[in-house]
């Protein structure tokens, strides 16, 4: 009996697979990033292998970009390090499933530079060559791999991270998330590796860890989210400490804010209390009356 059920299930899966085949688009690239220490005017070459791991032939496009990345954004720019990178050979080609190709590139550091750390990238995009027939509203799905090229150059080490603005919610309701947003800018010459903590202290205590990297001349939006639970109530002190530096995190940015957490159960209790109070004042008879009597 069990054998029959298993056999029927296998046949069903096979037929379903034939009727509703699932295809995938996929790319693989190695290495996942490059790190170079260059002198002004120095040149270095690198190589990335890209492979089509999907079911369809893909059109691959390779671009060189400057990378602007923070906790929510990933933005490409054609300025700065994007102009130091040269891609050898074709930047557009097709790859059949299982096929791979090597992409060679050169990074030439300028002889005169105004910052020491820079982050560029090779952006490798793969889109299906043929559209599979489908119904009404169709979405073609493609993939893109970002291979960062981090370049460090000798020069004055100036570590400077500025807090341009920050927003902490003043009131939060339980079970509704609040966003803690910090706008930062690296005014220095080297990358600022930052770690830190947002401490939310009141009747209860919570910690939100911070981590990220800000490159020179980049703005960085740090967004952390916190959702109060049923036990969180009252006034809270929000202490934020961001420690940063190129190697040692010797410098810090600190802020202190206050936040009020109002629990939903308290709002419901107040509303119920207010309704009962109004009804009693107006002399309205309650629709249900419970009377407890002793058994005779």
């Amino acid at each position: 009996m069990r054998f029959r059920v298993g056999l029927i299930l296998l046949v069903f899966i096979f037929v379903a697979g034939l009727l509703y085949p699932i295809f995938a688009t996929g790319l693989w690239a190695s290495p996942a990033e490059f790190r170079y220490d260059l002198k002004p005017g120095e040149t270095v070459t690198g190589e990335v292998t890209v492979k089509n791991i999907g079911d369809d032939e893909v059109k691959v496009t390779v671009e060189k970009k400057r990378l602007l990345m923070d906790s929510i954004h990933l933005v490409y720019s054609d300025k700065g390090i994007a102009n130091w990178i040269t891609i050898d050979g074709n930047t557009t080609f097709n790859l059949k499933p299982g096929e791979s190709r090597k992409i060679r590139f050169t990074v030439k550091a300028p002889s005169r530079i105004n910052y020491s750390d820079a982050m560029g990238a090779l952006v490798i995009r793969g889109l299906p060559v043929t559209q599979r027939a489908a119904g009404g509203m169709q979405v073609t799905q493609g993939v893109e791999l970002v291979i960062p090229i981090r370049v460090g150059l000798p020069g004055p080490i100036i570590e400077s991270l500025k807090l341009l603005d920050h927003k902490v919610p003043s009131v939060l309701l339980s079970f509704i998330p609040g966003e803690f947003v910090y706008e930062l800018r690296n005014d220095g010459t080297v990358q600022a590796n930052m770690t830190g903590m947002i401490e939310i202290k009141g009747l209860t205590r919570h910690s939100l860890p911070i981590d990220g990297v800000v490159y020179p001349e980049d703005n960085y939006t740090l967004v952390e989210r916190w959702t109060p639970g049923w036990a969180d109530i009252g006034l809270y002190k929000v202490d934020t400490r961001i420690e940063y530096g190129r190697f040692q995190k010797a410098k810090s940015i600190e802020t202190t804010d206050t936040l009020v957490v109002i629990p939903v159960w308290l709002i419901i209790l107040i509303i119920v209390g207010a309704v009962i109070w109004i009804l009693r004042r107006k002399g309205v008879e309650p629709p249900i009356r419970v009377k407890i009597e002793k058994r005779k």
């Binding site: 996929g26 954004h73 299906p128 599979r132 009404g136 509203m137 073609t140 493609g142 993939v143 981090r150």
Partner: protein, 179 residues
């Protein structure tokens, strides 16, 4: 006789010394057989993702909202990644002849995000949809898979027809520490 005995004694002492020397030599040779060898191997980092394609919303009536079927995005590399999504266009474009309407993505086209847990607006610029997606466990042969879906609102009185758009998923190695 005593002199002969002394010579034999000296000869014996010389033989003993030679035996000891040969023994030490043999010992040294045997110690070379147990010499250590350092073997190193470098496993390169690879970044890789795979997504179901195509995605079909099926039929959505003008003036109503529909969800796509659930689909998966896989981290098929050996590094942790941040995942972003964007469209290649501001509108769904018609593929049906003589249809001129488009469906603007602004306010109408969303994706379920792992970052917020809610449906987030899809734009032509990257929106983070997964922060720190883990790599597969070593040796499992099964990539880390995330299941998500999209939501589309078709404006009222949109012309009947087939409309298409392209969504691109971007992977970048998660917050690598400084060199």
């Amino acid at each position: 006789m005593i002199l002969l005995n002394g010579k034999i004694g000296g000869l014996l002492a010389l033989l003993v010394a030679l035996t000891v020397a040969i023994a030490i030599g043999t010992y040294d040779t045997s110690s070379a057989a147990t010499a250590e060898q350092t073997v190193t191997v470098t496993v390169p980092e690879a970044i890789s993702i795979e997504v179901t394609n195509p995605l079909d919303f099926g039929s959505i009536s003008a003036g109503s909202t529909g969800d796509s079927p659930e689909y998966t995005i896989k981290n098929t590399g050996n590094v942790k990644i941040d995942l972003y999504a964007k469209t290649n266009d501001t509108d769904f474009r018609p593929t049906t002849e003589n249809v001129t309407d488009t469906i603007p993505i602004d306010g109408n086209y969303k994706i379920k995000s792992n970052v917020t847990g809610n449906f987030e607006q899809l734009l032509t610029t990257n929106t983070k949809i997964y922060d720190n997606m883990n790599k597969a466990q070593q040796g499992t042969g099964t990539p880390t898979t995330w299941t998500t879906l999209q939501r589309l609102t078709v404006p009222s009185f949109t012309e009947a027809g087939q409309y298409i758009i392209t969504v691109i998923y971007t992977a970048v190695k998660h917050n690598a520490p400084a060199p």
